[in-house]
Every structure is written in structure tokens, then in C-alpha cells.
Symmetry: C2
Subunit: 495 residues, 2 copies
């Protein structure tokens, strides 16, 4: 029911006319060369050209565009900045792409009640920029925060390095105005953290565009901490770094962020970003950010350093001044991009494991690397067990991508086997839907499909995403993104 029939040679003329009447001539993109930009998102290894791209500016324009798609039974896909890594915004054949990048207004700032209302195209980092003068910030901070949009963050329930202490996007979205897949405008949640009735805001956040399009987002902002300190601990084995993470949490300290990078990542970053802070001979480094009151940070900093040393850290340094802190984080935030410089291509995986399984899983990933012959760089949100192994390969060699995807799949299965998850913060999108049955029973998936049909009865909103249709990964690879072609040439630009 949710799979679109192969469209017949469609007559787009009347559709374009109707869309232009609502959106204006300039905001309906149809020229082949202009459409190329929209062929893929951050999962650049799959591409499909949309039939049209529309650029709405208001909720009403989004609703009108969706209604036109419904009238003609055209699948449509929402896209923010296109930085997603699981192909959530990958077009399907003959679809309309609804791009929210012109919806960039900050609609309301209410500092007293700590909330900001934004349009979905607003860039993540703009929210903090808007309120930082008054001492506030917006907590979720994906590495792509200077370019990714709040609408995309809502779709993918994005995380970031500070999500250990402060939670992911869903913990910071109070309310939404959405356009459902049938073009209705509905308000979900509100201005308060808890509302009566069913938590429809919660179900929408992370639904990857399959339930409709968010057109206004009410965000919770937080008071900036009085003091922040970043520690860098340098280890000669990854297990010791993992043990330090467990010990820090056990001591009752929840750092703002706690990240591990392995030797391969460290050197990639130092080659490219040149922080000159990361010791190139370390097997692993642990970056720990502590925030809070000055007295609290001073106390925790001492304790954290002791814990790292007692676990065998060779050296522990710390920085409280904004400039050095930024430099320490810059390397971590640029780790994906750096991997792209030391290898023709990389495939980033996103899995979650219970914190206690860290040493075992890292050992298994190392074995997978040796068995498959691919170098795997590990960069991860250690505090919440969210792994980001980067598999380095060369996409210009035919067949390599398939092999690498297979290794990535093995890592995901490993995560599920130890009680974890196939996605931490990048979403399922087009990429991982074939792994959903690893985590969910038929009955679980069927229940989700029923919910999908409530908002998206004709299946027009972002079809072929999240749910495992077709069921096997082999099949999925052949028809990824409902016919999207694999893109086998190296040098693809990624964020």
C-alpha cells in the first residue's frame, strides 16, 4: 500500500503551472542542471534526480504544494540543508522535492520562558547565535551544525557531542506546526515541556519526513553554563579510555560531552585540521567537556583527571579559555571531513551499544577491519555508547562500496547483538531500512506502519524510507531510494 506504482510518463505541465501559481515562478525549479544539486544528501553514494524542486517560504505554501502532490498522486520529499547521512532526503523517481532552505526566519524569541520559535530552514548554529548574547544556547549540536537545518534535525532527531548530558533533539522540541502528508496544518505540543493527550510531537521528531513536514519549531533554550572546561586524556590503549568513561559516569559526573578518537582518526585530523593538540602517537584520546558552576567544574575536573590517570592515561591536559576549547573540539568536529582527505572515500556508520560493551565491541570492530582489509577509524560519543566507525575505501574501484556496506552491516548487527541499536543520531533513511528487522519484530514494524498511515495515508510523504521494503539488504541495494542509482566515482563532496 505504501509503495508507489511506477509512474507513467507524466504530463508535468499542469502541475508546474499550479505550483507556480502558489509559490511563484522562481520557486519552482525544473531545469535539469539546477536539479543536479538535489540528487543526493550527505549519503552521496546514492543519487536520483527529482522531477521538480519547490522552495516554499510559508506554512501555507508548504500545505498548498503538498495538496497539489496529493491531487496528482506525486511522491514528495522534504529536504533541509541536505546534510543527512542516511539518505533521508534522497529523492525517489519522479518526485517533488520540497526544500525548506528559504524558510529561515526566527519567528519568536522568549527568553523569560526559555523558548525560541523558528522556521525549519533556520541553521542549527543560528539559534545559539541569536540567544547567546543573553546567556542562553541551544543544546543539540551535530558536527554539521554550521550548515544543517533545524527542520532536518527534527526529521532525524539529531544528536551531537553534548547530547550525553542534555539529550537529543526530541528533548528540546516543545512544539511543532506541521503540514501532514495530506496537506492539513496541525499543531503538535505547545510552549510547555509536557502537554496532555498523546505525545504527537515526540512521534513526529525522528520520523524522517514520513509523517509530514514541520513548518514551525518551538525549541527549548538553556542557560549557558558559568564555566566550561575541556580535558584531553591520552591513552596507549582504547580499552583504558573506555574504562575511564565508565568510571567517570560511575563517579556521578555527567560531562557535557565525552568523546573517543582512535589513532587513525587522530592522525587524519592532525594531517588536515592541524590542531597540534592531539598526540599523534596515542592509541586513543578521550575528550571530556565539563560544564556547570565554577566551583563544580574545578572539582569535577580534578576528579576526572585522577580517574583518567588511574586508568593509565599518559597525560591529561585541560583548557578553560574559549579559544583552546574550540581548537580541541574543532579536530573532533572535523573528523569525518578529515577521513575524506586521508582516503579517497569513507563510509560512516552510526550504531549504539550499552556503555559496558565498549571494550568488547571495539575489539570486534578491529577484527572486522583486519578480516576485511579495510582500515576503520573510530570516532565516537563514548559517554552514550554512540559509535561512528569510519570505513576507509576507494569508490572508484567497482564493487568496493558493496563490500564496505557489508562490513558496515556487520558492525550494526554486532551493535544489536550486544543490546544496542542500528542508529544513534543519523536516522534510518534509505540506507539502513533493511536492518530494521534486526531490531524490531514484524508486529513492532506493523504498529509503526499503522501510525504512518494515520499521517500519511497515501504513502506520498518520503516513500521507501525507514521501513524494510523490500525485505532483504540485497534487494534494497538494487533499488535503494526506489530506483536511485549507486554513484560509483570518488571525490564526492560531503559535509
Amino acid at each position: 500500500m505504501l509503495i508507489q506504482e511506477k509512474p507513467q510518463q507524466r504530463n508535468w505541465k499542469p502541475i508546474i503551472k499550479e505550483l507556480e501559481a502558489v509559490l511563484g515562478y522562481k520557486n519552482v525549479v525544473q531545469r535539469r542542471e539546477e536539479l543536479i544539486t538535489y540528487e543526493c544528501d550527505g549519503l552521496a553514494s546514492y543519487r536520483e534526480r527529482p522531477a521538480l524542486v519547490v522552495l516554499p517560504r510559508t506554512t501555507e505554501q508548504v500545505a498548498a504544494a503538498v495538496k497539489i502532490c496529493n491531487k496528482y498522486n506525486i511522491p514528495f520529499i522534504a529536504r533541509g540543508s541536505g546534510t543527512g547521512l542516511s539518505g533521508g532526503a534522497l529523492p525517489v523517481e519522479e518526485c517533488v522535492l520540497i526544500v525548506t532552505s528559504m524558510m529561515r526566519q526566527i519567528l519568536n524569541v522568549d527568553l523569560d520562558n526559555q523558548r525560541v520559535v523558528v522556521q525549519p530552514g533556520v541553521i542549527n548554529s543560528w539559534v545559539t547565535q541569536t540567544v547567546s548574547g543573553a546567556g542562553f544556547y541551544y543544546a543539540p549540536d551535530p558536527s554539521s551544525q554550521i550548515i544543517c537545518s533545524i527542520g532536518g534535525n527534527v526529521a532525524e532527531n539529531s544528536g551531537g557531542v553534548h547530547c550525553l548530558k542534555y539529550g537529543v533533539t526530541t528533548n528540546h522540541v516543545l512544539g511543532l506546526k506541521i503540514v501532514t502528508a495530506t496537506g492539513d496544518i496541525v499543531d503538535l505540543g505547545g510552549m510547555l515541556p509536557e502537554m496532555p493527550g498523546y505525545d504527537l510531537t515526540g512521534i513526529f521528531v525522528g520520523s524522517e519526513g514520513t509523517l509530514g513536514i514541520a513548518t514551525e519549531v518551538t525549541l527549548r533554550i538553556l542557560k549557558a553554563a558559568e564555566s566550561i572546561c575541556v580535558l584531553l586524556a591520552d591513552f596507549t590503549n582504547v580499552e583504558a579510555a573506555g574504562a575511564s568513561v565508565a568510571d567517570i559516569i560511575s563517579a556521578g559526573i555527567i560531562p557535557g560531552g565525552m568523546e573517543i578518537m582512535d589513532n587513525l582518526s587522530i592522525n587524519a585530523v592532525e594531517d588536515v585540521v592541524k590542531t597540534n593538540c592531539y598526540p599523534r602517537d596515542a592509541t586513543a584520546i578521550l575528550l571530556i567537556e565539563i560544564d556547570g558552576l565554577e566551583v563544580e567544574v574545578a572539582h569535577s575536573k580534578k576528579l576526572v583527571a585522577e580517574i583518567c590517570r588511574s586508568n593509565g592515561a599518559r597525560n591529561v591536559t585541560s583548557a578553560s579559555d574559549p579559544e583552546t576549547r574550540l581548537k580541541l573540539w574543532k579536530g573532533r568536529k572535523a573528523a569525518f571531513a578529515a577521513a575524506g582527505h586521508v582516503s579517497p572515500d569513507y563510509y560512516v556508520q552510526d550504531g549504539v551499544i550499552p556503555r559496558t560493551q565498549l571494550p568488547y565491541v571495539l575489539k570486534e570492530i578491529e577484527e572486522l577491519s583486519q578480516k576485511s582489509g579495510y582500515r576503520i577509524a573510530n570516532v565516537f560519543h563514548a559517554g552514550d555508547g554512540n559509535l561512528h566507525p569510519l570505513i576507509l575505501y576507494n569508490n572508484s574501484i567497482p564493487g568496493e562500496l558493496e563490500k564496505v556496506e557489508e562490513v558496515g552491516g556487520e558492525i550494526l548487527k554486532l551493535c544489536v547483538r550486544v543490546g544496542g541499536s542500528i542508529s544513534g543520531e543519523h536516522g534510518i533513511g534509505a540506507e539502513k531500512r533493511c536492518y530494521m528487522p534486526e531490531m524490531f519484530s514484524d508486529c513492532d514494524l506493523e504498529t509503526m506502519q499503522f501510525v504512518r498511515q494515520v499521517f500519511n495515508p497515501k504513502g506520498l510523504a518520503n516513500p521507501t524510507k525507514i521501513f524494510p521494503t523490500p525485505r532483504t539488504c540485497g534487494e534494497a541495494a538494487r533499488v535503494m531510494g526506489d530506483g536511485a542509482k549507486k554513484f560509483e566515482t570518488s571525490g564526492v563532496e560531503r559535509y
Copy 2:
């Protein structure tokens, strides 16, 4: 579609036989005098006797009972300890009550990953008792925590005094095993804070038994703070207490709890609980709990005391030893019960307002009190704007309850008018469904109803709750709980 037809004189014999075959003879309660206990929950002003009560012990028994109800089209209602204050567990005519109080096993304790799996009948405070020896606790703490069940907490998304800093039940439920309204067993969420796919755990928590029955709950537990301090600030006007709340939050301090009690509540508590800590001549007291590292608590304590004094507090005292802390909280936790001692009856309201509206709303409530002639005691979670006005009245005077409910309704409308909500933590249940249209549009409510139908297609699970059918409050009062009778005699036992 969701409203049950008036049942014909049903032949219960074959149904009882089938239920006994699954649950055992002892666990199917049918004697009239034994059923009386189950006529109401904490909203004792409405009563309806169920046809049968069943006491399952396992998920499979719950599923079997639900399947039998489906076979015979019998409405069924889940009940935990029956302490809910909005009539969520109020029976409807000729229903089966599925009581989870025999499902009291703690199934798994995983301290390393900070999670505990329990059956729904487990009492809230048992969770903390189970893990406190190892230095952990379960954060949501309704005032009824020594008697209310985790299953009921999940149904109503319960809060408590510590929810300002730590969030309500939904923030602490990682996963659920549920029996849907059709008797299917489905797993929602898992052992990790974030899972891919739709957040069905989030939608189930707070759904007040209308989507099914939780039979296993995976809870997140937290590390107990190193140090805790409770401050009591004594004010000669409520506005000054409210201003202190705003200033404390603005200073970047998030207390574990922050509660205001007014003069009427203070004296009721001192009459009954005799803490000898609360100044009887204060217009309002502000109770502030600060938790964290020792250094942090020491620093924040000083700052909080200064803020209160600068807002005109006559006196600020503090206690760090467990005994005095407990005594300070005991009065607050017993405030509802105390109101029941100084007045024949009381009606507790539960609304939320943006923190900045506190002074205005308190003034309006005072005016409502004078206009209506009912004394209103105010006890509330000031930090998160969650009000609990207690309207004192005498239920043995015919017509009083209706008048008091009207005053309560005015308070709710006032909350909505200033951008708040008609329920903070007690749920909508049978009591407040007629106020849902004050907050939600027809389209919003219809969307919720569609979701309800996914899990509860025949409308058998807890019918007549949450949704405004019939639409006006007058009608609702006449057929509250699908025919439940008003209970007009005083001295009803409440928790």
C-alpha cells in the same frame, strides 16, 4: 465509533469461565462486596461498579484477558494502585477492570547501564529502595509514591517535586512491553534512550490506558547526588516568592525541586503533620532542594539564599541532614491529605502556566476564591509552573461539587489563556476531557483519535477517557465515566 453501545443484559457466565481458565478462580473477582473497592480511583467523587475485576500475574495473562474482552466486545480498563486524581481508572458500566497489583516483580536490575525492568504493579518507591544501596535512585516522585504503581505512572506520565530538574515519567521510561487493545504483545523502545523508528514509547507514556496495558517497564535510574540541601524561605507575599523562583532559574541554577505553599496550606499542614518547621504567619513559603556535588551545593545554597533575601524573604533556613530534609518535604507531600483534614472535602486542580505568569495567575485565583466564596489553598511546583490549587468545600451539601468543579474549570481556562495547559501531571482521565477543546483544535484532536484507533480499533481500552465526547462540560458531568454516578457524601478516603 469509539463510544460503546449500551450493553444488553449480558450473560457473564461463559466469560467468567473463560477468564477463570486463564487466570485461575481466585483471580477473577465477581462478588458485589469485593467489587466496591474498585468503584473509583483518587477522583473519588465519581463511582461506577465494574462487572468483573481480574488480577493477572503475567503479560500472557493480560493478553489473554484482553483477547476475551475483544471476543465479547467488553470494554476494559487497566488499574494500578488506583491513586490517580483525574479518574483515569474510573470504571464504565459493565466493564472488566484489569488490575495490575499482583504484577509486582522487579524483573531485572542492571546497575552498570543504569536501568531496571519492572512489572507495572511495582510501587514507585520500591524502585529507589531496590537500587539505593548501590547509590542510585528513580527520579519521578509523585506525592503518592509510597502507594502508586509504575504502571499508573506510565499511564498518566506522572510528575513529582523533582521533575523540575529531572523531567517526568516519559523522560525515564526507556522501553515497554505492552498488550495492545486487541491483545497483541508488542515491544516499544528498548534498553537505550534513543531508538530508530517512531517513538512509540513516547506516545504510550501518558496515553492513560487508551492504547493498551504496559506489562513490563524498563526504567532509567540515576546516580544519587553527592550532596543535597533543602532551603525554606519565608515570605510575606506570594509574588515575592514567585519572583525568587524566576531569579533562581535566571541565575542558571536548576534546583532538584522548587515548591510554593501558601498560608492556608502551611496551616493545614502544621495542624495535621506538625512539622514545626513551617512559619504559620508566612503568606507563602518557598521550598528549594539543591542537589549535586558538595562544592556545587554549598555555592548554590548561598546564592539561592541571597536571591530570596533580596526579594524580601523574612528568613531563610536550610537543612542538609537527611532527617530534617525529610521533615521539610513531609509537610509538602502531605499537603493534599492535610487539606482533607481542615475541610470536609477538597477538589484538587492541576494546571500549568509559563513561569513568568505566576504573579498574575495567583492574583486571579485569589479573586476567583473571593468571588465564589470557596477557600483555595495553593501548593505548587513553582519551578515548572505546575499549579495545584485545592478548593475546599463540603460535598454533603447538594450541588456544591458542581459549583466547585466550575471554579476548577475557570482556573483551567485561565491557565490556557496565559499560554499554559489543563494538566501538568494528573492526566485528563474522565475529569478534564471536556476542557480538551480549550487547548486543541478539532484537527489536533482528530489526529490523536486516529492514533488511538491504531492501537485500540474497537475502542474497548478505557473508553470515554481523554477525548471530549460528549462535547460540553455540562453533558460530561451528567454522563461522567459513561454513566458513573456522582458520589455526594463527604469523608471519602484519598491518597
